[in-house]
């Protein structure tokens, strides 16, 4: 089954990391992902820009309303996600725990994926 791991963390904290601190976390995360990547269990991985770059299209009105900022103001913000292919929730949790050791603080929300289309725009340069 495919799962999405949604990464929540305090943007105030993450945005105050220096370049060196940020690089250190990113490289620890790369190491943590390595096993899954080699086993072919790792799908797309994305880090999102700060919520200040977000735009929300409210489609509960007609025509839909464009609003600046994220959909919800929360204490911790959605800052990225992983798609993984796992046998069980336990396996995903194990992976998430490894990620957590590399990047403590905040939370991972694990959501089974109901429909997934990998699409063509998947190159690393897209970022």
């Amino acid at each position: 089954m495919q799962y999405a791991i949604l990464c929540y963390h305090s943007e105030d904290v993450v945005c105050s990391w220096t370049k060196e601190e940020d690089d250190a976390v990113m490289s620890k995360l790369m190491v943590a992902q390595d096993g899954f990547a080699k086993a072919g269990k790792l799908g797309p991985v994305a880090r999102l820009m700060p919520t200040t770059a977000a735009t929300t299209l409210r489609k509960d009105s007609d025509p839909p309303l464009v609003i600046d900022g994220p959909f919800a103001e929360t204490k911790e913000q959605l800052l990225g996600f992983y798609i993984v292919d796992c046998e069980s929730l336990d396996e995903v949790l194990g992976f998430a725990r490894e990620l957590a050791r590399a990047n403590p603080g905040g939370a991972y929300e694990i959501r089974p994926v109901a429909f997934f289309q990998s699409g063509a725009a998947s190159s690393a340069e897209m970022a």
Partner: protein
């Protein structure tokens, strides 16, 4: 991240919110700072054991208030002190506090605090110092180092600023729309000044300079998070990100200035550029242009050129024209002339800046640009006079050395028939 450096990050990230709420509570900057300081000490004691709370700012505000009340009680000797556990064990209180401390609440508190520090009655160097001390929480020593003054002098500057700004004079009710936008504009100006202080090529170590630029970006993002729909705040944030993206390429190994044209563009920070471009894209949709958006758009055109030859000077000239109309200033015209020289040639550019002579007679960059145009026109001896004037007006030895290097280069290039400008 429950080790001490991790906790310090969390504390500094929570600082603006916490101080802002404590200022509302105590109506006094010093009292708010003291309470925050106390709360931080308790956090450093209890968080490594219990783990940091989910809402660090709410915890700090709650504990800060209690500690202050406590001190007050101790002074009055009215009742016995609550035990350490009572004060520190505030996890349960968070839920209750959440409703009082929603983001709308923080929003006006933080804007008020920013505005108090950026009060237009203060000279700009005091505004900057106060903002860095109170909101960013930089130490007096760090700020003093950034401004190349002694710690004692900086302490005095901050104390003087605190005395002048009356926290009580800024009303605590939610501001009206007009007032809010005036406050926003004042705060944006100070954030821009902080960034410029860090971006300026002269004075202070590279490390200190970077810290100021990063702090300005942090404040701009904070402001934008509070006011996500303000296109000028998007523009400001984009401008700072796009400028800061070039930071690594702006100085060579010896610390000498590398002009935009000569920068190794592979050293530019692609993440900051992408974020800056995304923000401009968002801002432009509002159809409410302003000076920050226009400057950001100019920076974006530079950022998007893979090689300096690819720069869209025509568009840059048009944008400077817009900026001149919005915010007429001889400096803007001078900057525009560099683009004009690229598009229409040095004669037109020179004619454009010659009337600025009287206004910019003390500005080294004016004579540098003028000299470059004269050189391109083959008026070598006039060019040399202008360059000498530029050197005489350089603020630092580094600036003078920079001009000399540029002159040498211009002379070499004019011999080869090349065209360039000192920027």
């Amino acid at each position: 991240m429950t080790d001490v450096p991790g906790i310090e990050k969390i504390l500094s990230a929570a600082r603006p919110k916490a101080i802002a709420a404590l200022v509302r509570n105590f109506r006094d900057l010093d009292a708010a700072e003291d309470a925050f300081q106390e709360a931080c000490l308790r956090a450093l004691k209890t968080w490594p054991v219990n783990g940091p709370p989910r809402d660090a700012a709410a915890w700090l505000i709650f504990v800060g208030r209690n500690v202050a009340l406590d001190t007050l009680r101790r002074k009055r000797k009215e009742e016995a002190l609550p035990s350490e556990e009572t004060i520190s064990n505030t996890e349960d209180a968070e839920g209750r506090m959440a409703e009082q401390l929603d983001d709308a609440h923080y929003r006006d508190d933080i804007l008020r605090l920013l505005f108090v520090c950026c009060d237009p009655v203060l000279p700009s160097n005091q505004q900057i110092a106060l903002a860095l001390r109170i909101i960013s929480g930089l130490s007096v020593k760090e700020i003093a180092r950034a401004f190349l003054v002694s710690e004692a002098a900086m302490e005095q500057r901050i104390t003087r600023a605190k005395r002048k700004v009356g926290v009580s004079q800024v009303p605590f009710e939610s501001p009206g729309a007009v007032e809010r936008s005036e406050r926003l504009a004042a705060v944006a100006t100070v954030i821009y000044l902080i960034f410029n202080e860090g971006y300026a090529a002269s004075g202070g170590s590279a490390h200190v300079k970077t810290m100021l630029c990063e702090e300005a970006i942090r404040l701009a993002r904070l402001l934008l998070r509070l006011f996500p729909g303000e296109p000028e705040i998007m523009g400001l944030t984009a401008l700072l990100l796009l400028q800061h993206a070039r930071q690594k390429a702006r100085l060579d190994a010896d610390g000498a200035i590398v002009v935009l044209e000569d920068q190794d563009r592979s050293l530019w920070h692609s993440g900051f550029i992408a974020e800056g471009l995304a923000l401009i894209d968002k801002a432009v949709r509002h159809g409410r242009p302003g000076p920050y958006q226009v400057q950001a758009a100019i920076a974006a055109l530079h950022a998007q050129a893979r090689h300096s030859e690819d720069t869209d000077w025509e568009q840059i000239d048009l944008l400077y024209g817009t900026l001149e109309r919005m915010q007429p200033s001889p400096i803007v015209t001078l900057n525009r002339s560099v683009a004009v020289a690229k598009v229409k040639g040095p004669a037109t550019a020179l004619a454009m800046i010659e009337p600025l002579d009287a206004q910019l007679s003390g500005y080294f960059y004016f004579f540098g640009v003028k000299g470059a145009f004269l050189m391109q026109l083959g008026r070598i001896s006039d060019a040399k006079v202008a360059f000498d004037q530029a050197i005489a007006r350089a603020n630092t030895a580094a600036e003078a050395a920079h001009i000399r290097t540029q002159i040498d280069r211009l002379i070499r290039e004019s011999e080869k028939g090349g065209v360039t400008a000192i920027t």
